[in-house]
């Protein structure tokens, strides 16, 4: 599914968080949006998924406007958001969290097949299926958050800093799974501060600073760009 964002503006109590950003994500692409703290990365994703209402601009998927729809309706349009900080339902078990990811569906056979597929991506979730989510490690909670999003059969998957606070090995593992998910035809938008990781995974990237897109290019060009190298890759 193709995503078009045009001149998107978001204000929080008159303070501009997004000052008019435009970008297009073609069907099946894997893109990243990098930027430092407060650049507006989360705001961008939260506006796409309907948690925040824009003050101006449009968002559409395959030509259909979604910027006025409520968050719970946007999920049904095929957009799934893995929020910053994982936000799993801690008092529920792993499998209950995953079933809630499929809340909008009633076809139990298909839901259970999806569950199997999530478990094949994340075998550790299967082992812990009846454990309360609060007892999972940070990495496992991140896997659960991604697995929960996959249960809604997304055509576009939004991920907000999935690598935050995780060990390099787990980050590596999650990165590979995201590539797999993308190869299965899902359009993926990855927001990261970990630019090094993000630019290795994706085809195309955007650099966000102070609520504006200041640069966009193929991932390998960004990785070689002087500004990006200094500001985001620490070299």
């Amino acid at each position: 599914m193709r995503l078009d964002v045009t001149d998107l503006k978001v204000d929080y109590h008159n303070i501009a968080a997004l000052k008019g950003i435009s970008f297009t994500v073609p069907d099946g692409a894997f893109i990243t949006m990098i930027g430092s703290n407060g650049a507006g990365k989360s705001t961008t994703l939260r506006t796409i998924s309907g948690l925040v209402k824009p003050s101006a601009g449009t968002i559409s998927v395959d030509g259909e406007r979604i910027d006025r729809a409520a968050a719970d309706k946007i999920v049904a349009m095929g957009i799934s958001h893995v929020p910053e900080g994982r936000r799993v339902f801690k008092d529920l078990t792993v499998i209950e969290n995953l079933y809630l990811g499929a809340f909008i569906y009633k076809d139990q056979d298909r839901i259970d097949r999806d569950l199997d597929e999530v478990y094949s991506h994340f075998p550790r979730l299967r082992e812990r299926s009846s454990q309360q989510a609060r007892t999972l490690s940070g990495g496992e909670q991140q896997m659960l958050s991604i697995g929960r999003a996959l249960m809604s059969r997304p055509k576009v998957l939004l991920l907000d800093e999935p690598s935050l606070g995780l060990a390099p090995l787990v980050v590596q593992e999650i990165g590979e799974i995201l590539q797999e998910i993308n190869k299965n035809g899902v359009t993926v938008i990855l927001v990261e501060q970990n630019a090094d990781l993000a630019l290795r995974l994706v085809d195309y990237g955007y650099v966000l600073e102070n609520g504006r897109i200041i640069m966009s290019d193929k991932a390998e060009n960004l990785a070689n760009n002087d500004h990006v190298r200094k500001a985001y890759l620490g070299v």
């Binding site: 409520a70 719970d72 339902f89 809630l100």
Partner: protein, 289 residues
């Protein structure tokens, strides 16, 4: 010794009612983050329904129990639609509106039933079960504890075994994350207040033959529900049920051996103590991060 055992039995009977009456307050607070001060009056309306339709007009008791549930659920849904939903981002506004509803329902009850002494409903189930010559359980109380227990077990299954029940708990844990799963928070709010009000109506209807019915009977209910909710852990449903049982036992003992007033005052003191020592309640988890 007989008095001791009888008190335990009375306490257990009382606990079902406390749990039923409190659960709605917990559910609504958990899902909507608003304190419904009119919750005690929902119980009162349930009791009045039985008094008016059964005791005054002779309709069968069980029919009026069902009627009370339907009526009070309806009031709850109307409150959600016209007060809590518009006040969604204003918990204080929701609370003030619910106090308004409290007075309105009291005035309606006074209008319908008149001033004057509290009303009594003769127990539809007569007779008393006697166990081992000394422990006495009136059939009316036996009926009320069985129905309360059945209602609570059903609610428990709903919350722990059904997808809709998980969704209710998900909304009370994290509204935004729930919305991202396609869960409509408005729909879940209706479920929460509907279920909570139904339980309140049932509690009122079960209590009607066992208590004094007057327009102000909701006060005791809301105090009890507050204590149970805070001791159990705000938003923790299992905690509320456990706290209801413990508090009912405690309250019955203190009432039997001292007085009802002392029981309520010490209950409030325990609540304050819990707030100081363990603000998340006996079952609540510490807020992490």
């Amino acid at each position: 010794m007989d008095l001791f055992i009888q008190t335990i039995v009375n306490g257990i009977i009382q606990s079902g009612f406390y749990a039923l009456a409190s659960i709605g307050l917990v559910l609504v607070f958990g899902v909507m983050r608003v304190v419904n001060f009119a919750h005690g009056e929902l119980v009162m309306v349930g009791a009045y329904t039985v008094w008016l339709v059964h005791a005054q007009h002779g309709a069968p008791y069980l029919f009026t129990v069902v009627l009370a549930i339907i009526l009070v659920t309806g009031i709850g849904l109307v409150m959600e639609r016209f007060l809590f939903r518009p006040m969604m981002n204003d918990p204080l506004g929701g609370l003030i509106c619910s106090i308004g509803v409290l007075f309105i329902l009291q005035v309606i009850a006074t209008y319908v039933g008149g001033e004057g002494p509290s009303k009594q409903v003769p127990p539809p189930f007569e007779g008393t079960m006697v166990i081992m010559d000394s422990i006495r359980i009136p059939y009316q109380r036996l009926f009320s504890i069985c129905v309360s227990a059945a209602a609570l077990v059903t609610l428990w299954y709903f919350l722990t075994r059904s997808t809709l029940g998980w969704a209710v708990r998900a909304v009370s844990m994290d509204r935004e994350a729930a919305a991202l799963q396609g869960i409509s928070t408005v729909r879940i709010s209706m479920v929460a207040i509907g279920v909570g009000a139904a339980m309140a109506g049932l509690a009122g209807a079960l209590m009607a033959p066992l208590t004094n019915i007057n327009p102000h009977m909701g006060h005791n209910v809301i105090i009890t529900a507050f204590i149970v909710t805070i001791v159990g852990g705000i938003g923790s449903l299992p905690g509320a049920v456990i706290a209801a049982v413990l508090y009912a036992l405690f309250h019955t003992f203190v009432t039997t051996y001292f007085s009802g007033t002392i029981a309520t005052i010490s209950g409030l003191l325990i609540m304050v103590l819990v707030l100081i020592v363990r603000p998340t309640g006996i079952m609540g988890h510490r807020v992490s991060e």
